[in-house]
């Protein structure tokens, strides 16, 4: 099984090499065009778009038109206003940004890219700061899982799902192409030209190519608290140089019969500025990433309601990390990691009667990791997921449920592999519409899910003794309602959502330091009880003499306490990096083809360690951004300008201990559509 897959992998790799060269040439040739490059932002000014009616599982969406409104530069920025979201940001343009939903930790979030998971088996978390917005159509966060049942099995297999949908070509025979040229730049020495080329080939075939180059010195001023200094310093070794080329080929016979092929190459080099250590602020650590993926999808719906969905993905992620200051006497650290994955997925659904749909999904994935480390385990993992799901509507009730089976088997070249395991995970959800109109909906879900230990947790420096780490389980309970109403007065609509939730984490995987720096103790030790409330409100005014106001606010309350050991000094105390209160509000006004928006994110204090002592406290913060968007026609070409001022009031704050966040910064962008 294993050898066979390896062979097919290498065949596909060589096949893709040619395509890769072609796409990678784009960002290189692009820099020459930047002088004339312009940028456009679509700002939807007309037309009422009622927020979509909420589904059994809470979901929140942001679309490309609103990225400027939230002053977003990457995926992490775009979703930071969502309720229940807690971003761990190490600061700056190249700093790691991961997201934890409802206090479950980044490893419990599955990030989908056009329906296929971006998997990191090594660390279990995705750096959302690495994901550029230039080819993104919309981003949706689902607590639990998306509400459809004909989807890849992996979409059922995480505590929450962040689904990123890319832009698809929408072209006509009259104008069979569209070219979009843009340039962003500003603070941090940032320069970010990008290009999008959409082309219609014939009635059935079209393609889209996206490419960008992001270069920044990443420098920003910060102030250190606690080292006795009162002047600000400049964050150095924070430079980024990233290039990405992404191509997608679409074949569309009809809405019910279509195929797509995606190819993506990402290459970056960055400095890692590291923790700001008192009296020793210098870091010379560097990181290189080379990621490649090839994915395809086929979707077919027959007249008898039978629906088929097939996805495949081949990916490779290469990392090189150096630390020349590491005092090992041989010139420092120079580590390389290569992760590969081969993934196949199929889903089939059928309506037995009009109000009863059943689906079956199966996913198989083969993942392996190589590392230039002594005594490394060289683990390979085979994962097989099988899901049986059903969706039943009865009057005002909609009931949905699924049962997931996960089978995992691992091999290693050194040491001992974790024994294979098979786990069943159920999910149940329901909605109820108490009134004749769908204005008010009640919803509830229960989901029992787990995350498997990552390769690092299971095998990193584990040659001293095999670690037999069990999966980390999370049970989620949610009860809430949504109220969406079109108002016929001054306001277009109002939309409320409120959800209360209770999550219980057992067998939480905890890494403990040790007397011995080489040996990390990793055990299934933790138990966490999470009680929370997510609240969301959204509205906009009617268009009046070209004016329109927009407003949204999200609030999150999270009480996430460690209930591992009643005798410990941190029993029943808030888990690290989890604020009790988070508030995100956004207000703006559009006038004709201009928009001015104000965004604010507030977080109450957190603790960076389990013990909630004043020494371990990190102050709360309030960060405001202002953005201005202006659209104009250059001849018959739409031209868009925007300016973001981030951290408007120059707040000095940290999210992660010893990693200061940037003060005020400015981002300009211009885009033209041809």
């Amino acid at each position: 099984m294993f050898i066979k897959a390896n062979n097919s992998k290498s065949n596909l790799y060589s096949l893709s090499a040619g395509l890769l060269c072609l796409l990678f040439a784009l960002p290189l040739s692009l820099s020459a065009q930047t002088d004339t490059a312009k940028k456009l932002n679509e700002v939807k000014i007309n037309g009422r778009h009622l927020p979509q009616i909420q589904t059994p599982t809470p979901s929140q969406q942001i679309s490309a038109a609103d990225f400027d409104r939230y002053s977003a530069f990457n995926v992490a920025d775009a979703i930071r206003n969502f309720a229940g979201v807690n971003i761990k940001d190490y600061g700056g343009i190249g700093g790691l940004k991961t997201v934890s939903v409802r206090s479950l930790g980044a490893e419990h979030l599955s990030v989908l890219y056009d329906g296929v998971q971006i998997n990191d088996a090594e660390n279990g978390q995705i750096d959302l700061g690495k994901l550029n917005l230039s080819n993104v159509q919309n981003i949706t966060l689902y607590n639990g899982q998306p509400s459809e049942i004909c989807m890849a099995a992996r979409s059922f297999a995480a505590a929450s799902v962040l689904s990123i949908a890319t832009i698809r070509p929408v072209l006509t025979a009259e104008k069979p192409y569209q070219l979009l040229l843009g340039l962003k730049g500003g603070s941090f020495g940032l320069i970010n030209p990008y290009l999008q080329w959409q082309q219609r080939l014939n009635n059935n075939w079209s393609f889209i190519v996206n490419s960008y180059w992001e270069k920044a010195n990443g420098r920003y001023k910060y102030k250190v608290n606690g080292d006795g200094s009162d002047t600000s310093s400049v964050r150095t070794n924070a430079d980024v140089d990233a290039k990405e080329a992404d191509g997608a080929l679409y074949w569309t016979k009809s809405d019910s019969n279509k195929f797509n092929l995606h190819i993506n190459y990402y290459n970056s080099e960055r400095g890692l500025p590291g923790a700001v250590v008192f009296y020793n602020p210098t870091s010379n650590e560097r990181l290189w990433n080379k990621d490649f993926s090839l994915q395809s999808g086929y979707e077919r719906t027959w007249k008898n309601s039978l629906r088929l969905l097939v996805n495949t993905k081949l990916s490779q992620e290469y990392i090189r990390y150096i630390d020349p200051d590491y005092l090992n006497g041989t010139g420092g650290l120079d580590d390389r990691y290569t992760q590969r994955e081969f993934y196949l997925s199929a889903a089939l659904s059928y309506h037995f009667v009009k109000n009863w749909e059943v689906s079956y999904s199966t996913d198989a994935a083969l993942t392996d990791l190589d590392a230039s480390l002594y005594n490394f385990a060289y683990p390979s993992r085979f994962t097989l997921l099988n899901v049986l799901a059903t969706n039943y509507t009865l009057g005002k009730f909609r009931l949905q449920g699924n049962l997931l089976n996960t089978y995992i088997n691992e091999w290693v070249k050194m040491g001992k592999a974790t024994p294979s395991r098979s786990v069943f995970s159920p999910t149940l959800m329901a909605t109820f519409q108490p009134l004749p109109s769908p204005t008010l909906q009640l919803r509830a879900f229960y989901k029992d899910i787990f995350r498997n230990p990552t390769f690092n947790e299971q095998y990193y420096f584990s040659a001293f003794g095999s670690r037999n780490i069990k999966p980390e389980f999370a049970k989620q309970f949610d009860l809430g309602f949504t109220y969406t109403k079109a108002v016929n007065s001054f306001l277009d609509y109002i939309a409320f959502t409120v959800d209360g939730y209770y999550n219980k984490v057992t067998d939480k995987i905890v890494a403990l330091p040790n007397k011995n720096p080489v040996i990390l103790t990793i055990i299934n030790l933790g138990k966490v009880d999470i009680t929370g409330v997510d609240f969301g409100f959204k509205t906009q005014t009617k268009l009046l003499n070209g004016w329109r106001g927009v407003f949204s606010v999200n609030y999150t309350y999270q009480n996430a306490v460690d209930v591992t050991d009643p005798t410990s000094s941190y029993y029943n105390q808030q888990i690290p990096y989890t604020p009790m209160h988070t508030l995100a509000l956004n207000a703006g006004v559009n006038y004709k083809n201009a928009g001015l928006y104000y965004n604010q994110v507030l977080s109450s204090y957190r603790y960076y360690l389990s013990q909630n002592t004043p020494q371990n406290l990190i102050d709360g913060y309030s960060v405001s951004d202002l953005s201005l968007v202006y659209n104009v026609m250059a001849g018959n070409k739409p031209l868009a300008f925007s300016v973001h001022v981030d951290n408007l009031f120059n707040e000095n704050y940290v999210i992660i201990q010893s990693f200061p966040m940037p003060g005020r910064s400015v981002l300009f962008s211009v885009q033209i559509k041809i």
Binding site: N280, N328, L512, K515, F551, S569, L609, Q615, Q657
Partner: protein
């Protein structure tokens, strides 16, 4: 409009509530230790800048946390590794911040901060000993820094082996444990001998893999405890004759955190027991020093008081929360205990 207004009002109210949610960091009043007591150096956690100094006052029977910050308005920085008192000064060796904080031993007030850097690369000091008004500090980049304790000028460096850990003075010589600890699995296994009259390396002695702790007794023995490679080579104890600089004996030995007081050496075993080893008979004389069953979650560091015969054991708990210090009388009975900071790794006794 009314709706919008009320929403804005609501949001403003939230903002105010949240803004008032900031908890003020507690400011500990400056406490001046005027009486005898002990200083506990807490390592804190890597990259967290939370190394602290706790002072326990024998008379008041009270521990004061983070007195370095209180006395100096700034923190120790990252990973304090060693603390020693020499004359009226106290020296705190801060590993990741790469500094030696020289303070008044009575008040913890800073006298000088000595930075140990090679260009911008931190040398990472580890351990300190004194001899004839000079301080000798192991520097993790393969050297011993020599600092004049009267003038506290920039250090001179003597090159030794890789990643030197502890050092000890015996017979006019300095014995330095070269661990090579950052080169797993390719550890060092030597001790450099430095003639203190000339400050030059006169011998390099081979001991067990990954030597960490060095102490000397009054009978001409230097004890070197090696941690081993966590694989086929277990931890071991070598005894060096300080006259001939020859290894007299080397045996596998289950222990860590070695200290010496008079004719007794104390170790922490892998089973978290405190054992006593005789410097005269060279045998374990007590395989469970704690006689009253006091439970210590994670024994982390040891210290002993020569005048009272007391032994102090620190407890690192789960390595990420505040630790504790337990004081035992010479028969191993618990006298008292107090809370320290995160990872209490070294104790300095202050006797007025």
């Amino acid at each position: 409009m009314k709706n919008l207004k009320s929403s804005l009002l609501l949001a403003t109210a939230f903002t105010l509530i949240l803004a008032s949610c900031h908890k003020d960091k507690k400011v500990t009043p400056v406490t001046v230790p005027v009486t005898s007591g002990l200083y506990v150096l807490n390592q804190g956690l890597f990259n967290s800048n939370n190394s602290t100094l706790t002072f326990y006052d024998y008379t008041a029977k009270k521990a004061t946390s983070d007195i370095f910050s209180s006395a100096n308005g700034r923190g120790l920085g990252d990973t304090g590794n060693d603390i020693e008192i020499y004359g009226s000064k106290m020296y705190i060796v801060v590993n990741i911040s790469s500094t030696i904080e020289v303070v008044d031993a009575k008040t913890a007030k800073s006298i000088k901060q000595i930075k140990l850097f090679n260009g911008t690369t931190a040398r990472q000091p580890r351990d300190i000993v004194f001899y004839k008004n000079n301080a000798y500090v192991t520097s993790y980049d393969g050297a011993v820094a020599v600092i004049d304790t009267s003038f506290l000028t920039s250090p001179q460096y003597i090159n030794v082996g890789r990643n030197p850990e502890q050092l000890a003075v015996a017979n006019g010589k300095l014995y330095v444990a070269n661990s090579g600890g950052l080169s797993y699995p390719n550890y060092d296994k030597t001790v450099s001998v430095i003639n203190l009259a000339t400050n030059t390396v006169t011998a390099t002695i081979t001991v067990g893999v990954n030597p960490q702790n060095v102490v000397a007794d009054a009978n001409g023995n230097v004890y070197v405890l090696s941690a081993g490679d966590y694989g086929s080579n277990p931890s071991s104890l070598a005894i060096i004759d300080d006259n001939t600089d020859v290894v007299k004996s080397q045996t596998n030995f289950d222990g860590s955190g070695m200290i010496i007081q008079g004719d007794n050496l104390y170790f922490i075993t892998s089973a978290n027991k405190i054992i006593v080893y005789s410097a005269t008979s060279h045998t374990i004389t007590n395989s469970n020093f704690i006689s009253d069953g006091t439970a210590i979650t994670t024994p982390y560091a040891l210290a002993a008081d020569g005048t009272t015969g007391e032994v102090f054991v620190t407890d690192a708990k789960n390595y990420t929360s505040n630790g504790a210090v337990f004081a035992f009388d010479k028969t191993g009975k618990n006298e008292y205990s107090f809370t320290a900071g995160i990872n209490p790794g070294k104790i300095a006794l202050f006797n007025r």
